[in-house]
């Protein structure tokens, strides 16, 4: 008996009411949004509920939406997977752009530790309660958060490549 999406939806709405919304089927993945302040509770519920059993965190990443309104500037996306029923879901949560912070799930899923650090490194999203939130891929001295859309891909200080000859300028496309 496969786990039906309607079942997941009902269970979540029953427990979290309006904190979970925007349920939709995106290609092969069932997805929904969660209010940022409820994220740890929802993830914990998804993991521990005896019928849902989303016990494996596949992926965690951030997205930057500079064109959205202030409260929806950043998104953190969680991909969860239930291996027993072979069901994947995607949980998305939007957070504030001025002061991007969200509770860490590193005590729920051990593996989210580095993924959260990576997201912090790329977007500057502050994961509250993370045991060691510091840069992971870039140098500690770096001040920019490179994956935010306002930062250019290229290093502006480089001297050996003249953008004019590449048919582009630093603010590509």
């Amino acid at each position: 008996m496969a786990l039906e999406t309607i079942q997941i939806k009902e269970k979540l709405v029953e427990s979290f009411d309006s904190a979970v919304f925007e349920f939709k089927q995106e290609r092969d993945i069932f997805s929904f949004e969660v209010a940022a302040d409820k994220i740890t509770a929802v993830i914990l519920f998804l993991k521990n509920d005896p019928t849902l059993r989303f016990h494996f965190l596949t992926d965690l990443c951030g997205i930057h939406y500079p064109d959205n309104d202030e409260e929806h500037q950043f998104a953190v996306v969680y991909h969860l997977h239930n291996w027993y029923e072979n069901k994947r879901i995607k949980v998305k949560t939007y957070i504030n752009g001025e002061n991007p912070e969200i509770k860490s799930i590193s005590n729920i899923f051990l593996c989210s530790n580095w993924m959260e650090r990576e997201t912090y490194d790329f977007y500057g999203i502050n994961f509250i309660g993370h045991p060691q939130l510091k840069r992971i891929l870039n140098m500690d001295e770096m001040i920019s958060f490179p994956m935010r859309k306002e930062f250019p891909m290229e290093d502006s200080g480089r001297t050996d490549k003249d953008d004019r000859f590449f048919g582009r300028t630093t603010d590509n496309y």
Binding site: L137, N138, M139, S144, P146, F151, P152, M153, E154, D155, R158, D160, K161
Partner: protein
Amino acid sequence: MSDSNINMVAPPEGVVGEGFFATKLNDVVGMARANSLWPLPFATSCCGIEFMATMASHYDLARFGSERVSFSPRQADMLMVMGTISKKMAPILRQVYEQMSEPRWVIAVGACASSGGIFDTYSVLQGIDKVIPVDVYVPGCPPRPEQIVDGVMKLQELVRTESVRRRSSPEYQELLASYNIK
């Protein structure tokens, strides 16, 4: 030993007489150095895998006197930088270069080491020649083992013809000074 197919390096030009052989010191030293280049593989990414292939049985870099891969910078002659060097890695590469004793040569293997390659980004050093002097550049992303071998042979040519005095010349000191080394 006439039936073996071992190729010996020909002696440098000189005067041969009974019981003696006279030639230039430069040539002898150059020949000796060129045929026993000890590589220090500084493999970071994809090109490192091709270097593995170069070292392995099929291409066999040992044929060029580079049998002994030296993992200690102190005992290496030829620093082979293979793969992307990020800005985080650059100080370490420099430190390794500084630890090598003279004479030392550098091969930049692959597009990333030579110029940053396709990674024209905030985190990648745009060519290792920004931090250390380079003798031979090997293009390719990654270069084929044949190309790496070719790069080594090009370097051998440089080494063979290098003057024994080059390393103490003012030009060389100036070169190092321009990289702020020592």
